[in-house]
Amino acid sequence: MKRFSIGKLTLPVYSVLAIAFMLIPIVYTIVFSFNNSNRGNTTWKGFTFDKWLGVCNRPDVCDALGNSLLIGGVSTLIATILGTALAIGLVRYKFKARALVNLALFLPMATPEVVLGAGLAGLFFNLSFAPGLLTVIIAHVMFCLSFVVVTVKARVQTLDPVLEEAGRDLYANPNQVFWKITFPLLLPGIVSAALLAFSLSFDDFIITYFNSGEVTTFPKFIYVAAARGVPAEANVIASAVFLATILLVLIVQINGAIKRKRMLKNK
């Protein structure tokens, strides 16, 4: 048995405290979704389920949520298709301009949002293209694209080309090879890329603010409302999205961890 020492406890205790610190505002946001508040939501006025049961009593909150879901869905779909193609092309084929393509994909991730937002808005303005849903979707696809490429690329790199060769040896045509072998093997990577793209789009504020015109998304609603006080209904939506996502991630993570644990045991 190991000797007990305070030194050994420092790191675990620190880590738990650090995580607890990260969770404070999350817990606060969820708790205040149950606040029986009228205007503003800064002081505790008592517990109620009303805000959860009647989120759309604030139609502006619900509209903003609807816009965010629509923008997130469409942007994710387009960015995932374009990004997956790019990732496959980059890993599987050798060509001279690869370094240049890598740099071109890296740059959008290294550019501050305010520059991306102002740049696109300036372009749309110069072209007299009115900002709205379409311009927001164009912007979101643009900044999600590189993140999709990075995520899918990691998956393509772990893929053994021998499997595709085997398919070709068995007289599968290129179409069949892709849909029966490559795509199913890449799917976990594509799904995580899509989830990442959706969460980036759903939570984006700065780029959206520059390119949305009259359209309000959920983050934009909160930013504008922050001046007068954010209604508890916004907390309800954020909390619901959070709880659903965290549940999904936990199920996936614990599933994977249990599988790994079994593999460790069987060794």
Binding site: I19, S199, A234, S239, T245
Partner: protein, 304 residues
């Protein structure tokens, strides 16, 4: 690790089919054309707009191209405090995020190596903030640190601050919010490098009579440098361009305005597109230079 995922190509590559240029083009072109249209064209358009001058016959918000370099000296003169503040906030918050994240990433990546369930749980909690609006989380801190709140009452009673002083609206509050919001972006790349870190090297160091401090600076730190670099870039760049935390409706005040604050007000409220563009181009230029020198001096050329 987003940044390292690019570049270091040849090492892990498979020898796939290399012929068929047609397929490559079909795979790459749609995405690249998209980036060309909606990333590179806007950057170019920013540079053009940053050189415009007010149209003589036009009204507010109308400008014509005039190679007007004075826009740059104008924004440097007028927005110098915001420029300095942005990079000051970004530096302090990045260092703070690194110091807070490193032990945490070390614990998850090294100490929990043989506890997959606990490790997954901790990792999930590290990324948990991503799943709830960062604006609402920042507003939560604002409420927690409001003058009448319990936290500030404690601070005042302990004499840490005078009752006449406020936490909200101070440099410290903005740096606090920025640090908080970007900690996961630091923890994740650090975790990725620490997870692959061979702990036997620590024993080797100890066997050679190095004390724990020396083992850390001579072994652990150099090996985890790639993680530190990608984490630093992932945190520093967005912070330098952020203006939400510094906004007076969030944790800041009129005295904490940043570059982003000025770009937003010039662009969306004052319709002063040339100034907003010049400031954006400056920010972008400084960041490109910083990234290039940082990467070069740290010796990880293959990062880009």
């Amino acid at each position: 690790m987003a940044f390292a995922a690019f570049g270091n190509s040849s090492a892990t590559e498979h020898k796939g089919p290399t012929k068929s240029g047609g397929i490559v083009l079909a795979l790459l072109m749609p995405g690249l054309i998209y980036l060309g249209l909606f990333f590179f064209t806007p950057l170019f358009s920013l540079i053009i707009t940053s050189l415009e001058a007010p149209a003589e016959t036009g009204g507010i918000g109308e400008y014509v191209y005039a190679f007007n370099v004075e826009n740059y000296s104008y924004v440097v003169q007028n927005y110098l405090p915001q420029i300095i503040r942005s990079f000051y906030y970004a530096t302090v918050a990045t260092v703070a995020a690194l110091l807070i994240s490193y032990p945490l990433a070390y614990f998850i990546g090294v100490k929990l190596r043989n506890r997959p369930l606990l490790k997954s749980l901790m990792l999930t909690l590290v990324i948990a903030p991503f799943f709830i609006s960062f604006l609402l989380r920042t507003i939560a801190w604002k409420s927690i640190f409001s003058d009448g709140g319990a936290v500030m009452q404690l601070v005042y009673n302990l004499g840490l601050m005078k009752p006449s002083e406020h936490f909200l609206g101070s440099d410290f509050a903005v740096i606090f919010g920025l640090t908080y919001n970007f900690i996961p972006f630091m923890t994740l790349p650090l975790y990725t490098t620490l997870e692959r870190f061979d702990v036997r090297l620590l024993e080797a160091g100890a066997d050679l009579y190095a004390n724990p401090y020396k083992v850390f600076t001579k072994v652990t730190l150099p090996i985890t440098t790639p993680g530190i670099i990608s984490g630093t870039l992932l945190v520093f760049i967005p912070i330098a361009g952020d203006y939400v935390n510094a906004s007076r409706d969030f944790l800041g005040s009129a005295k904490t305005s940043m570059i982003g604050t000025m770009v937003e007000s010039d662009f969306l409220q004052n319709w002063d597109y040339p100034s907003a563009s010049a400031l954006s181009v400056l920010l972008m230029a400084v960041i490109v230079i910083l990234v290039a020198t940082y990467v070069r001096s740290a010796g990880t050329e293959d990062l880009l």
